[in-house]
Symmetry: C2
Subunit: 334 residues, 2 copies
């Protein structure tokens, strides 16, 4: 079914308020979840509301907690998220990093002991729309085997880079596995195979059968050994730069997906070192340049990162935001 | 054959001095190339000496150029590399970013109009050995098709992350293609196939035949669409944060591999926000944790990023550094 943006947002807000979020926090979280679905990232929009509420009920998210400053030195600050809502914690830290970047050109905020930030791209887009370049990531509980191993020991840590551009910011928002577990589930339920092998089955054979990978939990890092190493670095740098913890300890505390994790927000004010015209020109030229390539067989167009959002958003704005009937019913019943 | 470190370094130094580098620059470049081979990264150690000299002869590298400061704001500085030697330019900017990080906790140096920095990991290891966390990348001429396209329009941009640790720093040094053209060549000459499909043949079929990919130039981005998007972002952010140029223009100026490219050096002083014991503990714990996974079939061990260097370095220190007979003869003849 399809639900208009304002109706969807109002419903999310009702639920968040019912479960204890302040009016202000409920509005922010509802807006971000609705925007996420509107951009076509359904997995972290509407589809996460019920799970978020279950975490609140279990005490894994403290709806009243606010981030508190632990350390500050020059252009760096460290906050304790106190297990508050991941979205408001992450937006607060993005704003803090923006303030620092305005003063020093670059700012880094490390946020420890926080909860799931939902769609990582939210914070990149938010900063880019205000004119800032951002590099962000979060560490998470482990869900992916390290290269050479058969059991999950690495987080599927999302890494985000964004830059201001017209008509849409340039945005990279990628997790470390080739496919998410969500994608495996959706593909299996549709009775389909993955476009490329997405993991190993329980016998260690590379496969494009989503069910076999869900069973083995041997999801494939993007680029095999490369994604495995990248996930490792994001884990340790997340913990180091926030004075927080990595996957080994996140797994131990067992507060659900991302409970107690660390997030890093690096914000740069590009106009402190270059003129706006140059920045626009660089991105415009790069976007045009990749499209001068002939198309690969079977491909209809070449996208630059971030451009894919535009079509999904347009369709969802025109027709109402796509949402699974069951997911909507579950939210209405909360 | 195998050549002891000091002999190899002295020979590189002789060549660099002969072709006009100052004694100081020649010593630095010789050391970095010899260390690169010693660490087992032969492709960017001894194997690049002859090509570097050919670039000097063509005027693509100005051996006398020094980086000059163009801009500075707070914790950011921008330098023009003036097409000087990539290694000395990049080390200079790493040192500058370290100086800034000591003052502000974090420092960013953008370097435009520089030349090939050889092994990207050099700068990560250098900073980590001094106790700093680093995030660096370079943009390059295009050599990889964008996802959905069939012709090279994206640089195979290396991305580097490093953190101080004992006994070896944690180090990620990865380019955006799954395999390098060097790896394709070596595999083809050995009459072997790639372990995983590494690109498309000229008919657009995914293949593990290295020769077919060299012919089509359709090398595969790591993680397919993910590596393609990541390469795009590194290209534009490299250009934006150094007030420099991206692949579209690097291709146009045609000064060889990386001629005129942009590099970014972000350095963070982790002890400004965390204690050394915590930093060591985070990395030690993560390294141990991934090794608690059972091994995948056919795998003998699980490495954390950076650990692979130790074995290669030990063997090359004990037996002399491995070098191809032809490569050594070519250098001796320079």
């Amino acid at each position: 079914m399809r639900i208009p943006f304002e109706e969807m947002k109002a419903e999310f807000e009702r639920v968040f308020i019912k479960y204890g979020l302040s009016k202000e926090k409920a509005e922010i979280c509802a807006r971000v979840h609705a925007q996420t679905s509107r951009d076509g990232v359904y997995s972290h929009g509407a589809n996460r509301i019920a799970r978020f509420i279950s975490y609140v009920k279990k005490g894994w998210v403290d709806v009243n907690a606010e981030p508190t400053k632990e350390k500050e030195f020059g252009a760096i600050a460290v906050y304790n998220g106190n297990l508050g809502p991941g979205i408001t914690n992450a937006l607060f830290c993005t704003d803090r990093a923006i303030e620092i970047a305005k003063k020093y050109g670059i700012g880094l905020v490390g946020l420890k002991n926080t909860t799931h930030w939902m769609r990582g791209g939210t914070y990149g887009l938010y900063a880019a729309q205000k004119g800032f370049v951002s590099i962000s990531w979060t560490n998470t509980e482990s869900s992916m085997p390290p290269w050479g191993g058969a059991e999950p020991r690495l987080g599927n840590n999302p890494f985000v880079m964004a830059a201001p551009a017209e008509p849409e910011p340039a945005l990279l928002d990628m997790a470390m596995s080739l496919y998410s577990y969500g994608k495996l589930q959706v593909t299996r339920l549709a009775g389909k195979k993955l476009p490329f092998p997405g993991g190993f089955d329980k016998n260690g054979i590379l496969t494009n059968d989503p069910g076999a990978i869900e069973e083995s939990m041997r999801i494939l890092p993007m680029g095999y050994w490369k994604g495995s190493s990248f996930a490792f670095m994001l884990d340790i740098l997340g913990a180091i730069l926030s004075d927080g913890i990595g996957a080994a300890d996140i797994d131990k505390i067992g507060k659900g997906s991302c409970g107690g994790c660390s997030q890093i927000f690096i914000i740069i004010d590009p106009e402190k070192i270059s003129v706006k015209d140059h920045i626009n020109e660089v991105i415009k030229k790069a976007r045009e340049y990749i499209k001068t390539s002939s198309l690969a067989q079977g491909d209809k167009e070449i996208h630059s990162p971030g451009e894919g959002i535009t079509a999904a958003r347009k369709e969802n704005d025109e027709k109402g935001i796509l949402i699974d009937d069951g997911v909507w019913a579950e939210i209405k019943a909360l």
